[in-house]
């Protein structure tokens, strides 16, 4: 059942040290404000799941929140490396980071299977590649009708999903539009959830009969955080700050500049007041 809380309370209530956390948003609607609040609250030993780790996971990893990363593409889109993630994997800074690596298809299917309450996902994939040799969670099943062997991965079932959405209505129903990614699946696959939204409205009003909506009884804590996806974007609200993504390369390349930036722009910020 959805309850409206401050971002600080929402994160404090739903996210605990050692949790398996999925923060989703496929380029669009990445929950930056919520991620920053997790950093401020000093959560530790998180298993972070995300198809495309992006800057927000670079920040969480660099600030020492993560014990393990489950992912399928870890880069700064269109720019280059995630330097904090690389530093953790290559040099164990600030500490060792375990990784479980998949393909996008595997993770998308694993979220879908989690939402569908299945223990595993089946798909055609991972043919002729090395990843199954280094990831014991890539297995196979045989079609009982054709004998074909298909790839199988465990369903993703996080402790908590964190997403940013466009609107919540008074009852706590949540609307997502545009590039919807795997956010609906992430929430439905998780035990608990935090949803930040651009705005709270009394009623969604006229909309597509098939609008992507999470009913209030599937959602945990909701926090109203305008610009909560920045420097990612919110369809119809503000654009992706592509220049910030480019600027991040220089900020994150060096440990000291990274820590200074985080201190100034995240640690000193209040929950809900996000930096530009």
């Amino acid at each position: 059942m959805a309850s409206f809380l401050s971002l600080r309370d929402a994160i404090a209530n739903e996210v605990r040290d050692g949790d398996v956390v999925a923060m989703e948003g496929f380029t669009h609607l990445i929950p930056f404000a919520a991620g920053h609040e997790i950093i401020r609250q000093g959560r530790r030993d998180l298993t972070l799941i995300r198809m495309t780790p992006d800057i927000i996971y670079d920040q969480l990893i660099g600030m020492g929140c993560a014990r393990k990363l489950v992912f399928s593409w870890g880069g700064n889109p269109g720019v280059g490396s995630l330097h904090r993630m690389r530093d953790a994997v290559e040099n164990h800074w600030p500490h060792r980071l375990d990784i479980e690596e998949h393909s996008h298809a595997a993770m998308a299917n694993a979220y879908e299977a989690g939402a569908a309450n299945l223990p595993f996902a089946v798909f055609r994939g991972y043919k002729g590649v090395t990843l199954p040799e280094v990831n014991p969670n890539i297995r196979s099943v045989t079609c009982p009708f054709t004998g074909e062997v298909l790839a199988a991965v465990p369903a993703v079932r996080p402790d908590v999903a964190i997403i940013h959405a466009l609107k919540a209505d008074a009852r706590g129903n949540v609307l997502i539009e545009g590039i919807t990614g795997v956010q609906k699946e992430a929430v439905l696959a998780s035990r608990r959830s935090v949803v930040t939204v651009e705005e709270r409205v009394e009623d969604f009003g006229p909309r597509s009969a098939n609008a992507v909506i999470l009913p209030h009884w599937t959602v945990g804590s909701i926090a109203v955080v305008p610009r909560g996806a920045y420097p990612s974007y919110a369809h119809g609200y503000y654009k992706r700050a592509n220049s910030f993504y480019q600027a991040w390369d220089a900020i994150a390349r060096d440990r000291e500049t990274f820590l200074a930036w985080m201190d100034e722009n995240v640690m000193k910020a209040d929950a809900g007041r996000e930096v530009a």
């Binding site: 496929f26 380029t27 043919k127 990843l131």
Partner: protein
């Protein structure tokens, strides 16, 4: 007069030319995105562009920086969820051409975008596979765009992120893969195609001004050249103008964002 094409522009233009108006393309960021949109804005107006973020039949006015920029969704016919994209559209076998690139490629057009060095003790940790492992097997054919260099075109990959022609003839078939795999590798210096018999990448066309020696120097294995080696037609003024306009619009649009 028009400033002559840079090698990267030549690569993009050569890739664009390989696309048809009837193609349905799974587009990656960077050169593939530029090539696909150049094709759409020149000889292939009907081309369908799909980005893995879920945007189907998108017509961006500027190139996206990421696979999921708002521009892609705003101009798309429709946008589907990411699980649907990978299940119904990619695995569904509905894509005719997939674009891939990578940090490293071998003579059979297998790609590595995962790791240099040992997986558990990486020298360089690369971004990983993303959509590539399944793009490589589900699209009708694969075009690869990569700038040449002997650290990129290597004799042996430390890690195979996505399948090309495996270890040669019959590799894909043995794995039950029915698509054609990489049919051309478009570089900044030349175009390569798999030899019909050995499946080994063979230079079929040199870009204007590129020499055999330069191509050989940019490759870590002993590269074969096709018997009927041709020269890539130089970029037309229209191709260059449209591509540069696209990049200029893109530069201005992204600079204006903060």
């Amino acid at each position: 007069m028009v400033k002559p094409a840079t090698p990267t522009e030549m690569m993009t233009i050569a890739a664009a030319r390989a696309l048809k108006s009837s193609d349905v393309c799974f587009v990656g960021i960077g050169a593939p995105s530029a090539a696909c949109n150049l094709a759409r804005l020149t000889h292939a107006p009907g081309i369908t562009l799909i980005y893995e973020s879920g945007t189907i039949d998108t017509r961006p006015d500027v190139l996206p920086l990421s696979i999921g920029d708002g521009e892609l969704c705003d101009t798309a016919l429709t946008t589907v969820s990411v699980p649907e994209m990978f299940r119904y559209w990619l695995q569904g076998g509905r894509i005719t051409v997939g674009f891939l690139g990578g940090a490293q490629i071998d003579r059979f057009a297998n790609l590595n975008t995962t790791v240099v060095g040992a997986y558990d003790q990486p020298k360089v940790r690369l971004p990983g596979g993303g959509g590539a492992p399944e793009i490589a097997i589900h699209c009708g054919e694969i075009f690869i765009t990569m700038a040449m260099g002997s650290r990129a075109f290597v004799d042996k990959l430390p890690f195979i992120t996505s399948l090309g022609h495996g270890t040669g003839p019959g590799s894909r078939e043995k794995l039950g893969v029915k698509t054609r795999g990489p049919t051309r590798v478009i570089t900044d210096l030349c175009v390569m195609e798999p030899d019909p018999e050995t499946r080994e990448l063979t230079v079929t066309s040199l870009h204007p001004g590129a020499t055999r020696e330069a191509v050989e120097a940019g490759c870590g294995w002993t590269l074969r050249f096709a018997e009927g080696l041709s020269e890539t037609a130089p970029p037309t003024d229209e191709e260059l103008a449209v591509l540069r306009d696209l990049h200029e619009r893109t530069r201005r649009a992204h600079a204006g964002e903060a």
